[in-house]
């Protein structure tokens, strides 16, 4: 049974342009497909914003409540590692952006190079983060049963605290540093998780890029991954300011 002629019909879409292999059947044309994919990616980033939003809200509340504990807590973070990581991530963001440009301008070798650089920088970031984490673990600054208040009750026993010139915190204030470190590990941990996922996808993209997948005009995937990578970068820019740089004077 044919459609009822109730609607005026346009010409069959097969007429008005040839099908590139990557055009999914239900799209009118490549333009529409790319638009849809990009828009979908942005919407996904919205959900990510709200996902981290909950954590940032918690952070702001407790920072206002337990400012001193948060200061002493942040003094336990190594601002130099943090800064280095920020630079690494910013540069990786740059290489990713260049990668997108290479894909758009169909520079295959350039794209592969940029992706590999991004990949390495990403790994570098995680490496540095793991160094920082191991420090925390040694000092028993991981919240939970084995959490230790030593560095805050008696700063002289702790290099970092001493360097920052912390005064000993009374027990009740010192206890609240655990909240700080909970948020520290939550936020950086969530961020690191996103990095790991990103790096995984990067590896896959490098292989496909080698085969010239993204330099044949269909750059949607690279562009969208770029968006994701830059988003992760932005999150870190805030984490760095909020967690490391509360008060260093």
């Amino acid at each position: 049974m044919p459609d009822s002629p109730a609607i005026a019909h346009g010409a069959p879409e097969a007429a008005h342009h040839e099908h590139p292999p990557y055009l999914r059947h239900h799209f009118e044309n490549v333009e529409q497909q790319a638009d849809a994919a990009g828009f979908a990616m942005w919407l996904f980033l919205l959900t990510e914003v709200m996902f981290f939003g909950g954590l940032f809200t918690a952070y702001l509340i407790y920072r206002n409540w337990y400012y001193r504990a948060f200061v002493s807590g942040s003094h336990q973070l190594n601002v130099y590692w943090g800064t280095l990581n920020t630079l690494v991530l910013i540069i990786s963001s740059f290489t990713m952006a260049m990668g997108v440009w290479c894909a758009e301008t169909r520079r295959k070798s350039g794209l592969v190079l940029c992706l590999i650089l991004t990949f390495i920088l990403g790994l570098g970031f995680l490496g540095i983060k793991s160094i920082e984490y191991s420090e925390k673990i040694e000092k028993h600054h991981v919240p939970g049963l084995h959490y230790s208040l030593q560095s805050f009750l008696d700063p002289d026993s702790d290099a970092a605290a001493k360097a920052a010139g912390d005064k000993p915190l009374p027990l009740d204030l010192a206890r609240h540093t655990e909240v700080y470190f909970s948020l520290y590990f939550l936020m950086t941990g969530m961020h690191a998780l996103h990095m790991i996922i990103g790096i995984g996808i990067l590896g896959f993209m490098i292989l496909r890029a080698r085969a010239g997948a993204y330099t044949a005009g269909h750059v949607t995937f690279v562009e969208n991954f770029g968006l994701y990578w830059h988003f992760v970068d932005i999150i870190w820019i805030y984490l760095f300011a909020l967690l490391y740089l509360i008060s260093r004077h």
Partner: protein, 370 residues
């Protein structure tokens, strides 16, 4: 009529005989609350009737049989405006009226008598200033403003008295307050309305409203010997608070005489009113709230004193009007057996699991965690 199942029959009779839409009005706020409720019910009924009438009449008038030809109507800005503005207006009236009642329910009058209530899985424990304790029941005098200071020892509970139209959550780690003025003697339901675990539905009790004389009588009968403040004093001594909080020239802590209700300048700048909540906080997190001119040397008593203990201390400090009393406790400190030990061994107590077992008996000693 008994050809209907007798059981059902008996149910119906019972229901018809004591059918009610509202619980008894036994407090000053109840009639005001009900007035608003009646107003809202009225508005709702009118609204509902309008909709139902329109729908039914249209369905009859414009059913296919009567009205085979549908007339296309675009819409009408005038009508849209009408049913935007009228509901909005009504809702705003309700909002203002409701806000006023909310304000009354949560603003206790100055002369209100204060009763402390501790919620724990799964019982309500009331602490009267005179030292009377009750479990799952609360005796209050008629015609007297009663303020409840609520706190939970574990999870959220909710102290609900339908007959008084008041309800307030007892939350862990913070005092909440609510007040009411009973107007009709009698026994009313007390419910925990916030789901609090396995025996939630057994966390119920009675609110007993007594005539002033009856209340006096009850107080006299059920006194536990020492008043809440006296228990507090004992605790104050056994924790040797007076070691610092003595009004001596070289005292390391501020004097606590007449501190309750005063506006204190904070070391961190700004001022704070020393109410129950503040007193509690400065016992558990002293360094958060250091008053001007003192250094944060006071140890925290978090996890060392049960909520009942804190309440006793707060009540003691509230009633502390001269430093002479403190001198007394200072002298009695060493008379209290094993008080130092208690204060020390308290350290271990941490986390809600342990808190659960605290405060079974209510003498000063018992309030220190063993």
């Amino acid at each position: 009529m008994n050809d209907i199942s007798p059981v059902l029959w008996q149910f119906l009779v019972k229901w018809m005989t004591n059918f009610a839409l509202f619980p008894p009005e036994a407090s000053r706020i109840a009639p005001q609350m009900d007035a608003l409720l009646f107003f809202m019910v009225l508005v709702s009924l009118i609204g509902l009737t309008v909709v139902v009438l329109l729908v039914t009449s249209f369905s009859i008038l414009y059913s296919k049989e009567r009205h085979p030809v549908a007339v296309q109507v675009e819409g009408s800005t005038l009508l849209e405006a009408t049913w935007t503005i009228i509901p909005l207006g009504l809702f705003l009236v309700m909002f203002v009226w409701g806000a006023l009642i909310y304000f009354r329910v949560f603003t206790p009058p100055a002369n209100a008598m204060n009763i402390y209530v501790v919620g724990k899985q799964w019982m309500w424990k009331a602490e009267h200033p005179g030292g009377q304790h009750e479990i799952n029941s609360l005796h209050v005098p008629m015609g007297r403003a009663v303020q409840l200071t609520l706190i939970s020892q574990d999870v959220f509970h909710s102290f609900s008295i339908p007959a008084f139209r008041v309800k307030r959550e007892a939350i862990p780690g913070r005092y909440t307050t609510v007040w009411f003025e009973p107007t009709v003697p009698g026994t009313y339901h007390l419910f925990c309305t916030q789901y609090c675990g396995t025996s939630h539905s057994q966390m119920i009790g009675d609110i007993v409203v007594l005539t002033p004389e009856g209340y006096k009588k009850w107080l006299a009968e059920s006194t536990s010997g020492a008043s809440l403040a006296q228990n507090g004093e004992r605790l104050f001594a056994s924790l040797s608070c007076a070691a610092c909080h003595n009004a001596r020239p070289n005292a390391r802590g501020p004097s606590l005489a007449n501190v309750y209700g005063a506006r204190l300048p904070l070391a961190s700048g700004g001022t704070v009113t020393a109410d129950e909540a503040y007193l509690r906080e400065s016992i558990l997190n002293p360094s958060q709230h250091v008053t001007q001119g003192y250094v944060p040397i006071m140890p925290t008593y978090q996890g060392q004193i049960s909520e009942e203990g804190v309440i006793a201390l707060v009540e003691y400090i509230k009633n502390l009007d001269s430093d002479y009393r403190i001198e007394q406790t200072l002298n009695t400190t060493d008379l209290v057996p094993g008080s130092e030990g208690n204060a020390a061994t308290g350290q271990a107590a941490q986390g809600p699991a342990k808190q659960g077992q605290a405060g079974k008996n209510s003498a000063g000693q018992g309030m220190v965690k063993q």
